[in-house]
């Protein structure tokens, strides 16, 4: 009788164990996407990100495993690593003295969308240039 109970308990825990394993596998499933040289060329990374050996899905989380179908991540995605817009503005505080801080401009404050200027897979585009075409190159370096 006792051995039957033990067996039952053992079976119960075995099933529970297997279930938890299956569960964790589902949770951890990030598509195994192989980064080929062609893919790397098509979707180049900015050097500061390239250096960190990111995988596609580190940013394009939950977007499947076909890079062609990946969507641009929004501010929330960028800020999941880069903290907050205020934090980014504060990092360029020295520019505030001359009102040239692109992350805290007198027009928009720290409120612009990241992708008004920054693009990961193509050349970034400094929005300040659309009006201050001559000055921007004195105020800051090319937008990373």
């Amino acid at each position: 009788m006792r051995s039957k109970k033990t067996l039952l308990a053992l079976g119960f825990f075995l099933i529970l164990g297997v279930m938890s394993l299956v569960g964790s596998e589902v949770n951890a499933s990030s598509p195994q996407l192989k980064i080929t040289p062609e893919l790397k060329e098509k979707f180049t990374l900015k050097p500061h990100h390239e250096k960190l050996s990111f995988k596609c899905v580190d940013c394009h989380e939950g977007q499947g495993d076909d890079p062609e179908n990946f969507k641009a991540i929004d501010d929330k995605g960028c800020l999941s690593c880069h903290k907050t817009k205020q934090y980014l503005a504060d990092r360029l505080k020295f520019m505030d003295n001359l009102h040239t801080n692109p992350h805290n401009s007198i027009h928009d404050g720290p409120k612009l969308y990241c992708d008004e200027c920054h693009f990961e897979h193509k050349k970034s585009d400094n929005m300040c240039l659309s009006c201050h075409s001559n000055d921007v190159k004195l105020w800051m370096r090319p937008t990373p």
Binding site: K51, L52, S53, C81, R91, F94, L138
Partner: protein
């Protein structure tokens, strides 16, 4: 002569052991005090060209600006901790090199902004992990943060290894880029226009170092 010394030692074993222990303890104490007293911002800044770095450090949680006021010293993060001999050797070498630069080098030619790119070399990961022991599991770290820490771990001991400071760019020195700009603007346009900020920073730094 040597034979004579051996004979003395042999006849006075207890005394020899006692003297040996005393000499050992004394030299350990001198070494400890020596290392300890030459490890903080107040000492390092005497020779090391690092005023803006110290000023930014005082604004950081690692420099005592946190709620609790905990402060780690320069050597906590900037010297290797994997073995004590490497620690002492690096400390001695840095001391000699920094002293030489301070007294004989061309300090104005140092490009501090460019040096920031070498931060992974200047910040020792084992030091970070020495305090931040639960960086992989700490629930106070965002989910993305923990994911990235797992990524860091997966690259460890590979050719693509990254370091804590690869991502944590101003760690230990809050607002370092700005502070460096107050001392030496990185763009021509700002030259001479941030001097007031530098003065403010210098004043605060002098007060902090007096504490």
């Amino acid at each position: 002569m040597i034979k004579k010394i051996f004979l003395i030692i042999k006849n006075n074993m207890l005394l020899t052991v006692l003297v040996g222990v005393l000499v050992g303890l004394l030299s350990s104490w001198i070494l400890y005090e020596g290392l300890h007293r030459t490890s903080d911002d107040k000492f390092c800044v005497v020779c090391h060209e690092m005023k803006p770095m110290v000023a930014a450090y005082h604004n950081d949680v690692h420099g005592g600006a946190g709620k609790i006021g905990i402060k780690v010293t320069c050597v906590t993060c900037h010297l290797p901790h994997d073995n004590v001999f490497a620690y002492i050797a690096t400390k001695a070498r840095n001391g000699a090199v920094e002293g030489a630069i301070h007294f004989f080098g061309n300090v104005d030619a140092i490009d501090w902004q460019a040096n920031r790119a070498n931060r992974a070399h200047f910040v020792k990961d084992e030091a970070c992990v020495g305090c931040h022991t639960n960086y992989k599991t700490n629930e106070a770290i965002s989910e993305q943060g923990r994911k990235m820490h797992a990524h860091y771990d997966s690259l460890k001991d590979t050719a693509k290894e990254i370091s804590c400071a690869s991502c944590h760019v101003e760690v230990g020195h809050k607002g370092l880029r700005s502070m460096l700009n107050y001392y030496k603007p990185e763009y021509e346009y700002y030259k001479g226009k941030l001097d007031k900020k530098k003065e403010e920073a210098e004043k605060k730094l002098a007060e902090e170092l007096k504490k």
